[in-house]
Symmetry: C2
Subunit: 219 residues, 2 copies
């Protein structure tokens, strides 16, 4: 086999893997691990059923690959918060990123949510090790800021639980938001308003001043 041909095959392989992962994310988010069928994933990916099981040994293996994919996306998008940052800017930035992820990758968010909801059988270890360490690191920064009087002493770990909950609800409970707002689909304006409202709650909750005309007179 020529080098050119080998490279072409590798490209096809990569493309197929990505198509399968993308389709699987959608189907798992709508049907759950048990409810999803390889047939439906194959249809979504535009490939015959048997090819799915050629690339991934079993439905379980495919599911783990999807979850790993999502965790990588989360970790690569959300870096660490540095003590040098301005608390107000850092919190707003984090909220903004999380809301954007909910808008851009709602299926990923819902697959993750369903996994945790059902007891995190696959991702439990990650939560107890990497995620716990990440939160502990950020919490130390927040405590430092509190000691320096740069923000109120809100319990930092619970603050993260609440920010995650608020930002992810626009992906995970999207149909409920749509139903209550009377919309067929959420618009950019809805996410912008979500971002502002969450930002206001978080900043004021931490004793920081939201942007804009609401800043009180120092006099």
């Amino acid at each position: 086999m020529t080098r050119a041909r080998a490279r072409k095959q590798a490209e096809i392989r990569q493309a197929n893997l990505q198509r399968i992962l993308d389709a699987a994310e959608v189907v798992f988010s709508r049907r759950g691990l048990q409810g999803a069928t390889i047939d439906e994933i194959a249809a979504g990916a535009g490939l015959p059923k048997a090819n799915i099981l050629y690339y991934f040994r079993s439905k379980q293996h495919l599911y783990r690959a999807v979850i790993d994919n999502i965790v990588q996306l989360w970790l690569s998008t959300l870096g660490d918060i540095s003590p040098d940052h301005d608390p107000r800017e850092a919190l707003l930035h984090y909220v903004r990123l999380k809301v954007r992820l909910s808008k851009e990758r709602p299926h990923a968010s819902r697959v993750f949510a369903a996994e945790v909801l059902s007891g995190a059988p696959v991702i439990g270890r990650f939560l107890r090790t990497d995620l716990k360490r990440w939160v502990d690191r950020q919490a130390a920064v927040f405590r430092q800021w509190s000691r320096q009087g740069r923000m109120e002493p809100i319990e930092p770990r619970h603050l993260f639980f609440l920010i995650w909950a608020m930002t992810q609800t626009y992906a995970d409970f999207e149909v409920q938001v749509q139903a209550v707002l009377g919309r067929r689909t959420l618009r950019e304006a809805d996410y912008a308003r979500a971002e502002r409202t969450i930002g206001a709650l978080v900043l004021r909750g931490c004793g920081l001043v939201p942007r804009g005309p609401r800043r009180p007179n120092k006099s």
Copy 2:
């Protein structure tokens, strides 16, 4: 058949129905609709499998009964907010009730969450009708309070999305909270802290003063 005997049979029937509903709630919350098996529900209820299908025509019917049960619990526990109430007290009371529901009925919360997550195939109509109307009513009260200068003009419907998200995360994402806090199970102190933290965010977010020594000097 004597009257006494008929009454006894009715009692057994009621007891069995309740045992099945309770067991089903737990199994559905752990496995999802598709993942749950009638066998496991029967084992949980201490009844033979066939009896489940004697009381409920099918797994789907049982699932709908569980969902209806949960909605009834929500509606009966959380009444309407009246314009006569004090905004601060009303919001704190609502947050407290929701956190208590997450603590007392985590399985119910998770079944509901999984239903909405998967697109609300069963409960969609309820969300678009009864729930929407309920939120619209409460939103009108909040807007009135804002006009009267009794609270900041936070968008009320989003405020509900955020309160729901924050309070339910302690049930729905319980394993994640446990993992990050390094606990085997959540304690009363954890729920109390959750309640305080959510209360602080919501009150300050609405321009209301949290309780206690943090009240600023008016001077």
